[in-house]
Symmetry: C2
Subunit: 333 residues, 2 copies
């Protein structure tokens, strides 16, 4: 079966909007931490997920993007002030995405992007990066697209980028359409000012397998994966309810269970895909030990070795005392 | 629903055989390492499994049991030469099992048992222990039951004990009957003289949760468990085929994948059940690194932190060079 292409999505969304660039476009998008994970695609081309997911955006930690038109033989991509060779993986991926938006075949972009979130070790810089890029394209061309539509454009760059278009709690509705036009993020109305996210880097080892490839291998080879989409659907519902109730224990237990279920599907892949380092096991034990001592703290983990802790402001002193070096984020500050 | 009791199983199997003890009974039963794991019961009382399993017995590593009748108010249980108080967990479990076989309510047993396999850290001493006990009962009372029937009696003490009644490769057929009389082990005809099992103790920490309780919690709370029985059925078929072909790579990959799938179901339990220690993750990585260097070695793990390596005699020098301290067993020597 030949599915829909990314270009068809872009044409449907731009709907003959003008492609005349202004002097420049710029945008910021936050990183996001999934409380209910996106894990497994039903369409590789369009980054359509097999399950809905839910995240919290990290305030001013994220990516900035500045975009302009240049007269040059190739796109010029700068990351953190450093020009990248066109063959660098990130530059090549960005140019492939920008191919979808060139007003003419010879049109070239300059992109200056900068992450305010640690890029290594699974801090989802591709999510904030592609979200910022989609928003900067909207600014450059003056489209003024509704955010839900920009979310779809961001998804074409990196699945979880669709969630980074919004601050706060964000749900990515999986959608059902083959063209993916109903697969977009939407912000949830709730805020939770006392919620804290602690970024805990336990290992800076490079990941053996990127999350895109890991997701694909899990879907294709893990005998436990078939149980994942239903698990995620139930967790998503529990997490939505916990957010409505501002119940950190319910939120933490559901998010932790969801992350572990995701890792379990990978561990059962063949060959196994284990993003955990020895330090990850020690860190998870330490979080459980903190809870046994009465500190209400929970963890989630993306496709990597590091932990993100979930807790409330009332527990912040206890948590930072136990886990020194934690970078504490206030998503609703 | 009221199911069948253990006592009904014993009555059906003994079928009015005499209950007059001889001077003494004794037996040895080997420990066994499951290549396809037993994980999850369909009947807690009778230890009936949700999936078939397949193991290799460990030659002369196992348990010896000596049984006699005594005139005393309570059973006398000795483990490794040390008398146990009746309230010790092992003694209480043994006496509860022996209750099924007392010729009269006041009849008391003396059991002297000794393990030749490390008892801590998941080396399945309850499997060899209850198998030796069932065989010693048969010897004490002179029943001369067929081994498949003794396998059923051993199962009533500890599920995986039913496999320890036989040497070599052993398959536990899950069975379908509610009374469990068709749920017994049978020996496979194949031998594999060059096969080696390496016992690698990476942690002697006590397990936080016993495997009986861990199994129950996983069945009841893990959202990935429903995918396990089908996974095990496919792995069992692959392992049987690998044994027929004496294909260590096929055997190793299937056994390793099966063990990881079992651990994955536990990791996804709620709360999570993670038997891995940091050292376990390091050890699994070391086995994968050995394979990447061309050494055909695979691992399996029971519900504990330690590894059992699978390899052939031709790789033994490479394996022991890389993993010093390994206790190498030749199941078919």
């Amino acid at each position: 079966m030949i599915g829909f292409t990314r270009r068809q999505t872009v044409e449907a969304i731009l709907d003959r909007r003008p492609m005349a660039p202004r002097a420049g476009g710029r945008a910021f998008a936050p990183a996001n931490i999934a409380l209910c994970k996106y894990w497994g695609k039903r369409d590789e081309e369009l980054n359509l997920p097999r399950n809905g997911s839910l995240s919290v955006s990290l305030g001013d930690l994220g990516s900035e993007a500045e975009l302009s038109a240049i007269d040059a033989p190739a796109d010029a991509v700068e990351l953190g002030g450093r020009p990248l060779p066109p063959a660098a993986p990130f530059a090549a991926r960005v140019s492939g995405y920008l191919d979808l938006f060139r007003p003419s075949p010879s049109f070239r972009f300059r992109l200056r992007t900068r992450n305010t979130v640690p890029t290594a070790a699974g801090f989802a810089s591709s999510a904030s990066g592609f979200a910022a890029l989609a928003l900067a394209l909207d600014d450059l061309f003056g489209w003024r697209l509704p955010p839900e539509r920009l979310s779809v454009l961001a998804r074409l760059g990196s699945g979880s980028a669709c969630r980074s278009v919004f601050p706060g709690f964000v749900e990515w509705v999986a959608g059902e359409r083959e063209d993916g036009l109903d697969s977009a993020a939407r912000p949830l109305p709730e805020t939770w000012p006392s919620l804290r996210v602690g970024l805990w880097t336990v290992s800076e080892d490079e990941k053996p397998v990127g999350s895109r490839a890991g997701m694909k291998a899990t879907v294709e080879t893990s005998p436990l994966y078939p149980a994942w989409p239903g698990t995620a659907a139930r967790d998503l519902e529990a997490i939505r309810a916990a957010i409505r109730a501002r119940d950190v224990e319910a939120l933490g237990r559901a998010a932790e269970g969801n992350a572990l279920a995701m890792h379990a599907t990978m561990i059962a892949a063949r060959p196994a895909l284990c993003y955990w380092r020895p330090e990850s096991v020690r860190a998870m034990d330490a979080v459980r030990a903190a809870r046994a001592d009465g500190v209400p703290v929970y963890f989630t983990m993306d496709a990597g070795p590091n932990l993100k802790l979930l807790f409330e402001g009332a527990a912040e002193a206890d948590v930072t005392g136990r886990f020194p070096g934690l970078r504490v984020v206030r998503p609703f500050a």
